[in-house]
Amino acid sequence: MTRFLDASNLVVRAGGLLLDIPHLRFEQGRTHCLIGKSGSGKSLLAWAVAGLRASDLDIDGEVTLDGAKPPGPLWQDEIFLLPQEPAIALDPTMPVGKQIAEILRWRRATNCAWPDVEALAREVGLTRADLAKLPAELSGGMQQRAMIAMALAVRSSFVIADEPTKGLDTPNKARVIALFQQIQASGRGLIVITHDLGVARALADTISVVDDGRIVEHGPAKSVLRDPQSSAARTLIESEPAQWSFGARTAPSAASPVVDLSRVAFGYSATHPLLEIDALDIGRGEIVGLFGPSGVGKSTLGDLCLRLRAPRSGTVRWHGAPAGRQIVKRHRAKFQKLFQNPITAFPPNLSLKTVFKELTPAARQAAPALAGLLSRLGLRDDLLDRRPDQLSGGELQRFAIARTLVGQPDFIVCDEPSSRLDMSVQRQAIDLITDYVKDRAAAALLISHDIEILRKRADRIYELTDRGRLLSLDSEADGPS
């Protein structure tokens, strides 16, 4: 018998209204995707449906399974919630195998044996050796697979997954999607919250678009994705990298590059270099893309270009001069970085005003320039009085860009800007930086694990292989030249 999960008159408040859902029905055996930009209330909806009550939230409304209320405050075996960020959800002090075994024992059979755990782990592609490891010793993709193993262990009728592919690179994302297809095949109802339309495209039967705490569009996946009716859905679809228009190209110039690396090696031991870069140069007006899976050292290469790390051997040059202590000191403000996560890039205890006034000398010297920059970025002055936790991810991202650009840098490393926020914020960040680079003839290294973004925005693309070497992908850069 097919079971139905209904949410009626769901209202979540914390001060203001955060979520207002008159009615939403989920069906067992089908996959329902909730899409929407960051901060639209998708996760709140998942929490409210799963019966989780955060102390500072005021949740009203009713959630029923086949018309029946939950047996207690939670749904026990009926609904399994895969929380965002498996790294936080897993117990950091216990090997993952033991954690899976615990779930098996509690939720399926008290007498289950270790081979059962191993069988379950094999289903999600974890080896026996992986099971003995602590969560911190596993990659983000493997942590997510361990969580999925737990979801498989519980014979629930519904599984809710909150941003299951957040921060994962393409191959890991594909694996997670394949595992969700397995959950679908087992006849469970799947509710996936995501800002990644690729995930929705691969999994969804029906899609609801959430915007500002309301469902603005609802319908079969194909029609929503192909012919979106609401502006929120259109924005989401347009900000997908595949839909981006190509940026202007800059041909490599003969003038001396802004940054160049020659025969640079980096590693924590002399015998096992992690990175070996024979040559990399980035000229004026050029955006060089750096592609590669998670954990190969893309960020480290960016830090080497910025001389935040010293190479073990080889030379890093800035404007043609070896970047020694004196050169670095003189040019520091001109070689900047846009951090991956705008939330950690600001001190949590300080207002933005203090950050710009006290901790950004370039902004102090050029207050009118900063004011102009902020208004161009659409940031009101009164936002400066807030602390980072009082701003949205998108606003904070624009403040981070303002801080990076206020000193008019010659070179910027963009380290997967906002890859944990939604695509529209990512696109905004990348476009602001690329526009700046083209206007001012600056240079940039754009790091991403999404090849599509690089194809659309970079003049040249390199792949960093898992052996720490650069591989030119320029034959693949098939944009208009």
Binding site: F339, A345, P347, N349
Partner: protein
Amino acid sequence: MNPDRARKVSTTIGGGLTLVFLVVAAVGPLVYPVDPNAQSLIHALAPPGPDYPLGADQFGRDILARVLHGARFSAGIAVAIVVLSLATGIALTGCALWTGGVVSATLTLVADAVYALPGMLVVLMVAGVMGGGAITLVLLLWFVKWPEYYRLSHATGRFVVSSDHVLASRLAGAGPLRIFRLQILPTMAPYLLSIGSLSVGQTVLSIATLGFLGIGIAPPQAEWGAMINDLRGYWQLAPVQLAAPTVAIVWIVLGLLVLSQGLSERKARLDDAFS
């Protein structure tokens, strides 16, 4: 009791006990202007009465006056010691975090070496040989206490210094002192406040211990430990006189302990905010 309430209650009780103590230490001797060292042998061991509210000791000195002056002495010295060690620990942490490498390793080694010394024994030995005095006491206790603060602030600061937001400020060209003051110090402050308030209590206890052993404090300075030692032979004749300095010690040590408890709950909440 929910943790929020528990934190408020312990901060209030601890803060209250401490505040009362500090007020008494500050204005007590002014409100009750009796010379703590004036002897009157005919009133030796006089019981509490109109002339001697808490009685007199074996030399006929007024116990209330001595307890009040002892409070001023102990509080002053303990606060001085803790503030000095705190400042030393924070300043050295700043050096270590900024320079890194050899300087940091050396400082940590020195701090660990001093920390490994049995502090009380060192103080006993040196004060015993060199003779006492308030200054010697402050210097000695400072010497054995600073590594505690260095280790604590270094351990918390180390993680902040490698965080994105500090790196972002360095890239923006902000000076090391500003970064330290605005970004690193605030993350260490709750830990240091909590340990610092606990440590003032411990230091009061240390001073009393030394006084009891007759080391470090030159008579006739009114000091609680020394008073207890003087009067313990007369406990049957002068129980109130013996109890007075004892209660004073328990009062302040307990007050600071509970206050520190409350502050460390606050610290746990700040941890969440900073994670």
